[in-house]
Amino acid sequence: MDFRITEDQEALRRGMRDLLTARFGPEDLREAAAPPGPQTPPHGLDRGLWRELGKAGLFALRLPEDEGGAGAGLPEAVLVFEEAGRALLPGPLVATHLAAGTVPDAADGSRVVTALDLPQEPGAGEGPPAAAGTAPGGLVEHLDGADDVLVLGPARVRVLPPAALDADPLSSVDPLTPLHRLRARPGTGLGEGGQWRPGARRLRREAALLTAALQLGSAGRTVELAVEHARSRRQFGRPIGSFQAVQHLCAGMLVRSETARSVVYAAAVSEDEAETAAAALRADEAAVRNARDCLQVFGGMGFTWEAEVHLHLKRAWLRAEQWMTAVTAEEELAHALQRDT
């Protein structure tokens, strides 16, 4: 057992951080998020950046070397996704990464792939997918900006063009993640043809884990933001970070991000179902609650649109609803208590 980040992994992580610092730093994030408001349509994806991410291996990372990948594993993917989460990089990163072996040109960042999580796989000729309605699977991010949609049924998976989805845009709470809602209308064609392939279960688990890595990155970043602010902001003649009330908020944030980190990394190594559920649960909670506590530390200063903090909270809300939600994770973890001893 040596549960530490190796030097190679650290180099990979640092490479991604350097790339993102140069190409999508806090200033870029703020600029991308402005102008705001429900009236303004959210920005499209930066295709140039997407290709750079592809070149840096964000999507191809786990492909075999003879397919242009790095032959890396989930732990490496988790580390680079953590960096993406830290920078609050927008886009269907998880879906494109998962599609890299399936969709031509996804691996190098030439194509953007989003995903649809279907709780029920429609049989050929059947009615609408059950996703439409109230299930989280009814939402698709970046549909307008994507070239393909990876559709995950409970067991099988297929790829569709975005136009095949009958969906309405909604005004996403996250200004950098446009959302579409599937319409409940028959004959959308999702179930037609024979292009369904197996492997959805593994992909869904990996999607949950990589989303947890994004959340972990955000949770760690909001600790940094809170600490920076608490060090520099002065009230009552001293830095607010010298007040125990603020110190203890920050300490609680650190506890959340560090416990989440241990289980997110471990799930990447173990690839265990229940451990992935634990990773999703802890990382979602760390991201959401850290962003809220960070807002509290910032006080009025964090309540403006220009501050980075609210973007973390909104993205954290959104990611928490993607793939494995808290209810599913808790039930899975309860179920696991009966299984093994």
């Binding site: 429900p38 939402l139 200004p175 009552f236 009330a245 509290q296 609210h310």
Partner: protein, 390 residues
């Protein structure tokens, strides 16, 4: 311990309710949230209707042009207007709830004549220039300077978190007139006409995407000495006099509104089937218990404020106000987090949904008007008598 209303209180409620039934349908349509001049016009129209019906300045003393109503009557007013779906005080907030009462308490007869009637009639809008970028929780550290020059003060500095600054006629301004004096001792209260040269207003977008606040930049703005309330360097006391004029009714209307939202949440949950999830249902039940308690706490605080008013005291004890604010701000955030559960992702991630917008704005409740951390300090040191922290 009586929770029933006196005959006078019941009559007040009936008359008000009858008037609301007649008056509300005559209101013009609600303006767009981003159209500030239209919002001002709408809010002032409503204020004028209240004025004409004899409800303006309900809680103001009669000698200031108000109705001299008791806190209980004020509570009934807030309850009834909220239940009837009447407009909120809106652009009239600072004038009616803060600047006005301050002027009524501390102004000269001339100042009262000049400023109070237009507030009550809905003719003039006030905003508040207290907080600064570096003076938030620590208001007394504010640095906006006012230098006496003949019959004027020349004011330079930056104010922030100023609501309605774009459409205000006046700003109640707290400035530093003596930089040498101890923090609280060198401040002065001025009425700043918002059309004076040297004022720049920059709207601030909040995290909810709306422009609720503004920064106000003051560059050698001349304010007549006659616009000063109280003595020079006595501004801290002047301001605190009114902040202490709390009758327990702050947020009372909002608690009524939250309780209505809870019923709406239960209805929505039954419609979309989420009511059958005991985790969510019990969470709603728990919230119902919390808001029931908060509503009773409002009545408790108001009754004590009313008694204190009758017997010469002037304020609800600090305990009541801080306990309520701490509990309410947390409960409101929990309410809209629960609303997100009821809605499910499709609603909770839709920023156009009113509950999602309310969820975002609820985030300010543990920050604005004294953070929860400051409220806990107040309870610990002023109410529980714990030794002062260092």
């Amino acid at each position: 311990m009586r929770l029933d209303r006196t005959p006078q209180q019941e009559e007040f409620r009936c008359t008000l309710r009858a008037w609301l039934t007649e008056a509300l349908p005559t209101l013009p349509p609600k303006p767009a949230p981003s159209d500030w001049p239209a919002r001002r016009a709408y809010d002032m129209h409503w204020q004028r209707m209240l004025y004409d019906a004899g409800y303006a300045g309900l809680h103001w003393p009669a000698d200031a042009g108000g109705q001299g109503a008791t806190p209980t009557q004020h509570l009934i007013f807030l309850e009834e207007t909220e239940r009837a779906g009447a407009p909120y005080v809106g652009a009239g907030f600072v004038g009616l709830l803060h600047a006005g009462p301050t002027i009524a308490a501390e102004g000269t007869p001339e100042q009262r004549r000049r400023w109070l009637p237009p507030i009550l009639r809905g003719d003039e809008v006030w905003c508040q220039g207290f907080s600064e970028p570096d003076a938030g929780s620590d208001l007394a550290s504010l640095r906006t300077r006012a230098v006496r020059d003949g019959d004027s003060y020349v004011v330079t500095g930056t104010k922030v978190w100023t609501s309605h600054a774009e459409v205000a006629d006046w700003c109640e301004l707290l400035v530093r007139t003596d930089p040498e004096a101890p923090r609280h001792a060198g401040l002065t209260w001025l009425a700043l006409p918002m059309d004076a040269p040297g004022i720049t207003v920059r709207p601030l977008r909040t995290l909810a995407g709306t422009a609720e606040f503004a920064e106000v930049f003051l560059d050698d703005v001349r304010v007549p000495v006659a616009n000063r309330l109280g003595a020079e360097n006595d501004g801290w006391r002047v301001t605190m006099v009114t902040l202490a004029y709390e009758r327990g009714t702050a947020f009372a209307g909002e608690v009524v509104a939250c309780r209505r939202v809870l019923h709406d949440l239960a209805r929505a949950a039954r419609r979309n089937g989420r009511w059958d999830d005991p985790v969510l249902r019990r969470r709603l039940g728990r919230l119902n218990g919390e808001f029931t308690a908060l509503w009773r706490l409002v009545q408790w605080n108001v009754s004590h404020a009313e008694h204190a008013g009758r017997t010469g005291g002037s304020s609800v004890p600090g305990a009541g106000a801080s306990v309520f604010k701490l509990a309410y701000s947390g409960a409101r955030q929990e309410l809209y987090d629960t609303a997100a559960e009821v809605l499910g992702p499709e609603g909770a991630l839709d920023s156009c949904h009113e509950w999602t917008a309310a969820r975002l704005s609820s985030l300010s409740y543990t920050i604005a008007a004294g953070t929860s951390q400051i409220q806990r300090n107040i309870l610990a040191e002023r109410v529980l008598g714990l030794p002062k922290g260092r």
